[in-house]
């Protein structure tokens, strides 16, 4: 039976309670009659033979690119860049797609007699990956062949010797990227396109860029003009990256782009109920929910976090395309939408969403309050095409414990941002104007970023800018079950129960509002008509 498309449920008196994520927990909430619940499409059939599909893509590229073997020759310099720990979510079961793709690229390079090969993790300003994380992403075979010889490196956006300035775009944007990548005869970029935002020119122009380059599109103004940044054609974030990408190509950098898409089979066996529609829960699903939720209620948060962070997703590859960046990305975007798109009629007054335990920036870490805001207002709010799911002036209700808790190794600058910046102002523009420069150039944060496993000092600002569109659009934000102090620091309201939050929301949107619940994950993209 072919997988069912996404679905918008109209809640009636027979509708069973709806699952809400609540960090490392979840609950069943009863929504008012007349509410809508948006469910993701079911996982589409994966490729029967991913290795054969990868090989076919490399030999038959799209756009103005020769087959990969024709681009490889003895004596050349080859750089293979790939996405970091932020993709996919949750991390996928072995073998990771990056391993499958890079192994085939290396096989072809070896056959062509290419000796000068280097692998670079396209971190941008993210934290460096640990050895186990790298081994999981690219496999032991590749890691053991390259890492001991210093040929597996992690992009350093603060190493002036490892960066090269390629020029300015028509809009005056600096394009400064990794020197090795820019000066190689061929740059192969291996993507995992979990959402429509990923890939395209953004891969190189952001993933291998410096702060000097990133600040041109990672700012409040760009994010406020991106409606949404998941829709390339209405995203200023993408416009800037496309300008930069074309400049990179004009500078003589030959990019062989490889993009892959996944189905949304997100949770393994024991957690399958999380991606099912509640009225279709079988006895096994109900028992799974009861056992899991009761067990988690009795588990200390740190152990619950460890349990969930150990979950590996059974994602499977649904497509792979290779060749010229823009031609490849057009195909990729179609595949992403085929898996995630759900047509939704009209906006809503109140949008509810349960926030899970994971975002792109807390893999094997803590979802701190800033990341809670970014996950809800940055990512899930922007999962739309056309119009936002919630009307302008509407209210967003999120459920998450929002603990005042940070990982000091991964997120040191987040702690100070939360204490020093958000206590002063939550306006993204003011935040950028008053505080960004000092955090971005702080030598201690730069040292931690370059030598430890810390996100760059400016990264929490970017998380806050990610929320800029939603903050500008919404009339209020309520977090159910959140730590009141942390929630208030974010500038939001805290509520104990969903019913309380709905009452509070009516103070903003008026009586008898319309309500829509975003039943994610699995990831879905609302095509709001």
């Amino acid at each position: 039976m072919s997988p069912r498309p996404g679905f918008v449920l109209d809640v009636d008196r027979s509708t069973p309670p709806t699952l809400f994520w609540h960090g490392e927990r979840f609950s069943l909430e009863t929504l008012p009659v007349g509410s809508r619940v948006i469910y993701a499409p079911e996982p589409i059939e994966p490729l029967a033979d991913p290795s054969a599909a990868i090989r076919a893509a490399l030999l038959d590229p799209v756009g103005d690119r020769d087959p990969l073997p024709a681009l490889l020759f003895p004596g050349m310099t080859l750089t293979i860049a790939f996405d970091d720990i932020s993709l996919p979510l949750p991390p996928m079961e072995r073998p990771d797609i990056r391993q499958l793709v890079i192994e085939q690229v290396l096989d072809l390079a070896a056959a062509a007699g290419v000796d000068d090969v280097e692998l670079i993790v396209a971190l941008a300003l993210h934290r460096r990956m640990t050895e186990p994380e790298l081994r999981h992403a690219i496999g032991d075979r590749i890691y053991d062949a390259f890492a001991p010889h210093g040929l597996l490196t992690q992009h350093d956006a603060e190493d002036p010797d490892a960066l090269v300035h390629l020029g300015l775009t028509d809009e005056g944007e600096d394009v400064e990227i990794n020197r090795r990548a820019a000066e190689s005869d061929l740059l192969v970029y291996v993507n995992i396109n979990l959402v429509a935002m990923d890939g395209g020119h953004k891969s190189v122009a952001t993933g291998l860029a410096s702060y000097k380059s990133l600040r041109h599109h990672h700012n409040p103004q760009t994010m406020q003009r991106s409606r949404s940044f998941m829709d390339q054609h209405r995203s200023e974030l993408h416009s800037a990256n496309w300008r930069m990408g074309r400049l990179i190509a004009d500078s003589g950098v030959t990019v062989f782009q490889i993009e892959t898409t996944l189905n949304n089979d997100t949770f393994p066996g024991a957690f399958q109920f999380l991606q099912k529609r509640e009225w279709e829960w079988k006895a096994r699903d109900r028992m799974g929910y009861l056992a899991t939720s009761k067990a988690l209620d009795r588990t200390p948060p740190r152990y619950a976090r460890q349990i969930f962070q150990s979950v590996k997703s059974p994602h499977r590859m649904t497509s792979v395309q290779a060749g010229e960046v823009e031609a490849v990305h057009a195909l990729t975007t179609d595949h992403v939408w085929a898996q995630q798109g759900v047509v939704v009629q009209g906006q809503t007054d109140i949008l509810t969403m349960g926030l899970p335990y994971i975002s792109p920036y807390n893999v094997n870490s803590i979802l701190n309050p800033i990341l809670v805001a970014c996950l809800g207002l940055g990512y899930l709010f922007n999962m739309y095409r056309g119009k936002p799911l919630v009307r302008e002036g509407g209210v967003l209700i999120m459920t998450h414990p929002t603990p005042w808790e940070f990982n000091p190794v991964h997120h040191p600058s987040y702690i100070d941002f939360f204490e020093q910046v958000l206590s002063e102002t939550t306006d993204p523009v003011e935040v950028a104007d008053r505080f960004e420069e000092s955090f971005a150039t702080d030598p201690w944060y730069i040292h931690l970023y370059r030598t430890g496993h810390a996100y760059h000092g400016v990264h929490p600002f970017y998380m806050w800018y990610w929320c800029a569109h939603a903050l500008q659009h919404l009339g209020g934000v309520v977090i159910v079950g959140g730590d009141p102090a942390a929630v208030h620091r974010l500038g939001f309201r805290a509520a104990s129960t969903l019913a309380d939050a709905l009452e509070m929301a009516q103070d903003v949107v008026g009586p008898s509002p319309t309500l829509t619940h975003l039943h994610a994950p699995p990831i879905l993209m609302a095509d709001v008509q």
């Binding site: 509708t15 069973p16 309670p17 008012p32 730590d483 129960t497 009586p511």
Partner: protein
């Protein structure tokens, strides 16, 4: 490793948040206006409680009225999975019943006279046994009369709409008769594929090409889509079988079993000729059974000579009015009367 501030409090302990001064009124202060009425729409959970049953997820979820229910996955009829009945525990149980219950009962009630079984000597399986069908006792009687080497590795094609329309019936007949569901009103890919697969797996097959029991005692036209089609598809030989007298034990619509003599006649195995289509092969099978039916009421030589002349009485009986067809069957042949004990199985000397 983490940096925290404040204790990690549970959801329930955060009640104070509700009184956030900026929020205005509390629940119930609305005075019955719009917001409160809207929130009172949070009703479904209480429906279950009022109905006196455990709430979801302890109980099964209710189904939203706006969502059409998907058609249930069919598990009966031709979709019934009979694989379990061909595994060794079920085969052992069936063999015990067949040899220790069915055969003694058949001896006591039907006293079958077996003819022509010598023609099966040396016949390599798998084999399709195609018989006329007048009574429910045909199947157990035929199974109990099969040579031992066929008896315990034979499945029976049974009407999917009759024997597999209830779970208990499907389970019972699968176990006791090794029945497999066959769609009898049309050629069904699933049931025919299953039968062909089992023949390929060295299972023998008992099938009634009429597609059902005779309504009046005279046979019906043989369908080409069963035995004939399977033989042309798999190349297996078809052994025509004639069962005589079973209608007197238990006719269609009858309420009880009466003792009666029966005759089970095995014909010469038939194979489809090169290029012969199922329809023509089916006619040959039917003609063979008709010859054996004639033999049951006359003798072997008479039946043979009439067959050679093409004057074998048709299985379907005379083409006359309904009462005359019934009248022709009204007086059973003498040998159907069963008095006293008889040797069993009886064979024509």
């Amino acid at each position: 490793m983490s940096v925290t501030r404040g204790s990690s409090r549970s959801l329930r302990s955060r009640r104070a948040v509700r009184t956030d001064a900026r929020l205005g009124g509390t629940a119930g202060e609305d005075g019955g206006g719009g917001p409160a009425r809207w929130l009172h729409g949070l009703a479904p959970a209480s429906l279950a409680a009022r109905a006196g049953r455990a709430p979801f997820p302890l109980a099964a979820p209710s189904w939203p009225e706006s969502v059409p229910r998907p058609p249930p996955t069919p598990t009966l009829g031709v979709h019934y999975d009979t694989a379990w009945a061909r595994r060794y525990p079920a085969r052992l149980a069936r063999a015990l019943v067949l040899d220790n219950v069915t055969r003694p009962l058949a001896r006591a009630l039907a006293s079958p006279l077996i003819r022509g079984d010598e023609g099966l000597v040396g016949l390599e399986g798998p084999v399709i046994f195609a018989a006329n069908h007048a009574s429910h006792v045909d199947t157990p009687l035929l199974l109990s009369c099969l040579p031992l080497r066929f008896r315990h590795r034979t499945v029976v094609a049974a009407a999917a709409d009759y024997f597999f329309d209830r779970r208990w019936k499907a389970d019972t007949w699968s176990l006791l008769l090794a029945a497999i569901p066959i769609e009898r009103t049309k050629i069904n890919r699933r049931s025919i594929d299953l039968a062909a697969e089992l023949l390929g797996d060295d299972w023998n097959l008992v099938i009634f090409p009429e597609g059902g029991r005779s309504p009046d005692g005279w046979a019906q036209t043989f369908h080409p889509g069963g035995a004939a089609y399977l033989a042309t598809r798999t190349g297996c030989p078809v052994v025509p079988v004639h069962l005589d007298g079973t209608r007197h034990l238990l006719p269609k619509g009858g309420s009880g079993i009466r003792r009666s003599r029966t005759t089970v006649t095995f014909g010469t195995p038939l194979r489809p000729d090169e290029g012969e289509n199922p329809r023509r092969f089916s006619a040959r099978i039917e003609a063979a059974v008709a010859t054996m039916a004639n033999e049951a009421t006359t003798d072997w030589w008479t039946a043979r000579t009439q067959a050679a002349r093409g004057t074998t009485p048709p299985l379907q009986g005379p083409d006359v009015s309904a009462w005359r067809r019934s009248w022709a069957l009204a007086a059973p042949p003498e040998h159907h009367e069963l008095d006293g004990d008889v040797d069993w199985p009886r064979r024509n000397a």
